[in-house]
């Protein structure tokens, strides 16, 4: 064993607390590597999300009809759209749609997830999972085209079936009283599969022991679900509701194809108004202003959800 002499180290003056130690070459390499891996995603987000959002905000301050050069409008576009009854009605419709569509979607998805998660052969469970998820992979526009035929008052299969049991034809898409309900039904039928899959995953994550303990304490059936399952499923419920609300606030295809926003304005949604302003009436400034308002609304609703989640969401 060689006796190595440790060189005397001259004590260096202590570095000021605010200055971080210089990263070593290895740390720099690690950071560079991390940056390399993150770069495609960051570039994607910047190019396809941040820039268009910034572009929309800028465009909302201009009058632009595609044909002529843009002219500065300041807040005029916002005054214009906030004074437009169609825009205000579309926000109201969208909020009504969101409340009912998301509530129905979550309720159906939860009930079905609980049912499928119960005592059932594995193969049958797979069949149900696939069946419930299937509408989600189809194009919303093509589903809506088919549904438009099914819900047709005069020639639709739905009214024909109702007729077999003596019910008079329902003006599904042609009455202000039922058009929104029909649009919500079509939307929920297509969308609930996503929440369903989330709930199935969430239910599988709940340890069996907790249910067993609850059973020993005498909790059964609905009480068990209310006191054990739902609280433990609340993180999944939060995710499902956040995603569901964001999607519902951006609904476009179903009302556009099924009713084109009618009768009157009864099913006109905010995204429809954006589309109509921009691509039918060539008012890109006003369309962008509505888009910015929708962005703010979605941000506000999502922030509120996360704020409320502190109180209602339970993590194991």
């Amino acid at each position: 064993m060689t006796n190595t002499r440790i060189p005397a180290v001259r004590p260096r003056p202590a570095a000021p607390a605010a200055v971080a130690p210089r990263p070593s070459a290895r740390d720099r390499g690690t950071r560079l590597l991390a940056a390399l891996f993150l770069a495609p995603t960051i570039v994607g987000i910047v190019v396809f999300t941040v820039v268009p959002i910034a572009g929309s905000v800028v465009l909302s301050l201009f009058h632009w009809n595609v044909i002529d050069s843009p002219s500065f409008a300041g807040a005029a576009n916002y005054r214009e759209v906030l004074g437009d009854s169609t825009v205000l009605v579309s926000f109201r419709n969208t909020l009504v749609f969101m409340v009912f569509a998301v509530a129905l979607q979550l309720l159906i998805a939860l009930v079905l997830a609980l049912a499928v998660n119960g005592r059932m052969p594995v193969w049958l469970r797979s069949v149900f999972r696939s069946a419930f998820f299937f509408p989600l992979v189809l194009s919303a526009a093509s589903i809506s085209v088919v549904m438009k035929y099914l819900f047709n008052q005069d020639f639709g299969v739905v009214n024909w079936l109702l007729g077999l049991i003596g019910i008079a034809p329902v003006p599904w898409l042609t009455s202000e009283n039922s058009a929104m309900a029909a649009v919500i039904l079509v939307y929920v039928w297509q969308q609930f599969g996503f929440s369903f899959l989330l709930f199935v995953g969430g239910l599988n994550n709940i340890p069996k022991e907790i249910h067993e303990a609850a059973a020993l304490d005498g909790a059964t059936g609905l009480r068990k679900h209310l006191t054990v399952t739902l609280p433990l499923l609340s993180p999944t419920l939060l995710v499902a509701s956040v995603v569901g609300i964001i999607n519902a606030l951006q609904v476009f295809e179903q009302p556009y194809v099924l009713t084109n926003g009618g009768p009157g304005d009864s099913t006109r949604t905010v995204v429809m108004v954006i589309y109509e302003n921009a691509f039918e009436q060539l008012r890109f400034g006003e369309a962008s202003a509505v888009g910015v308002l929708l962005f703010v609304l979605i941000m506000a609703v999502t922030a509120l959800q996360f704020r409320l989640s502190r109180r209602f969401v339970h993590y194991q």
Binding site: L33, T174, E276, F279
Partner: protein
Amino acid sequence: MTDSHLPRRTLLRYGAYGAGAAALAGTAASWDRLTGADIPGRDDGSLVVATLGSAFDQAAVRTLSEGFRKLHPDIRLRINAVQAVDWSDFFAKILTQIAAGSAPDLVYVATEGVQLFAQRLGVPLDRWVKRDAAELREYFADVHPSLVESMMYEGSLYQLPVEFNAADMYLNKQVLKRAGADLPPADWTHDDFTALLRDMKRSSGSHFTPYFWTNRLWGGVVPWLFANGTNLLAESKAPGGSWLWDTFYPAAERRGRGGGFRWTTPQATGIRVEEAYDYLASLIQEDLCTRPEGGNGSNLVGVFSTGRVGVTPAGGFWAGGLHLAGMKPTGYDVQYFPRWRTQRHQFGAAGYALLRTSKKQDEAWQFIKYAARKDTLTQLFQGNQTTPARRSMLTGARYQETGPAHWQVFYDTLDKFPDTGPIPAPPQVAEVEQVLLKHTGTALASPRTVRPALRRMQDDLEKAMERDV
């Protein structure tokens, strides 16, 4: 002994370098595809013609291109068939292309967009028409002046019409027979029309709708407004245009012609407009026709050809559509729109508009002339998917296979009713159409809702017409 294993960190680093290099190489290799530079004819100096994709099939587009190349081998041509649901969707896509800096030289434009394009994007064809007057004389002699006038704006001609469709009435003969009725006479009235619908309703089952219509600018409420001697917007004629009428049309045909239509003051609350809406609302109340949102063109062919609908307004385009759906030529027929206060019909026409941004305007004019030739149109419109603008092309032979028996109605709608005019389509047409569709749905919910809805329509139309496009 040295360790032959690569440290995980090094492996990851080189992996990242490799992935980055592969991504860059992939992007470089597919750059032409990503930027669209590999599209044949793009940025190679070709004359670019944008057509409504669904209007012409691939064979027709090939015919159009090859015929033009034979005639003008020095002009490279690219047909850009833009797929769209309808004209407004098509215009939206064209305007998006223009905004993106890839404007075509020529755009196929229907009445809905004639004034918008003329006012903001188009080039008047006057100087070329005057220059080539001798060559064009045969064309104008074959085309009704109403179609030409519908392509004029403020005294100038912006397009040569190549097709049109007027809203006539198609009748299912099986349903007529069931109702014990004959094909109505040419001078039938709207009372005769109502009586016929009632007869049809009585003689058919509960899953039958006598009259089917689509809520849109063409063929919706507007034909009824025309028949009742009114319009959605006050209609007048722009001055000018005599340079064209005096050159190409005899005195009898040019009387009353001007420099194109002007649609200005909304008149949705006019008594005649209310009458037309009241009439349609009463038909709905009696279950004699579909509600406006119930109808759309895509399912109409099916329900008409199977006898679940008796009557519907359509143009010559439907002869081809019904034939494709398997309907026999003897299974249906066509008659003029019924008379009310007048028997004025409405039509929409289409032709090629030349864009101001085009650097190849002389070549584009050659294409416009070529596209209006009889031989070109004969090749293009073989399937009766529209009504050719040239009178001489409407023959018994053309309609022998598809029907209808009274095919003369298509062009006689112009010849026998010279006041027949285009659908109201000012430059603000998109908003006008949206307002019309929206409030028509509300107005026809019940007889009580007609007036309040028309008042709201009037307000919205006034706002729309005040706006500059």
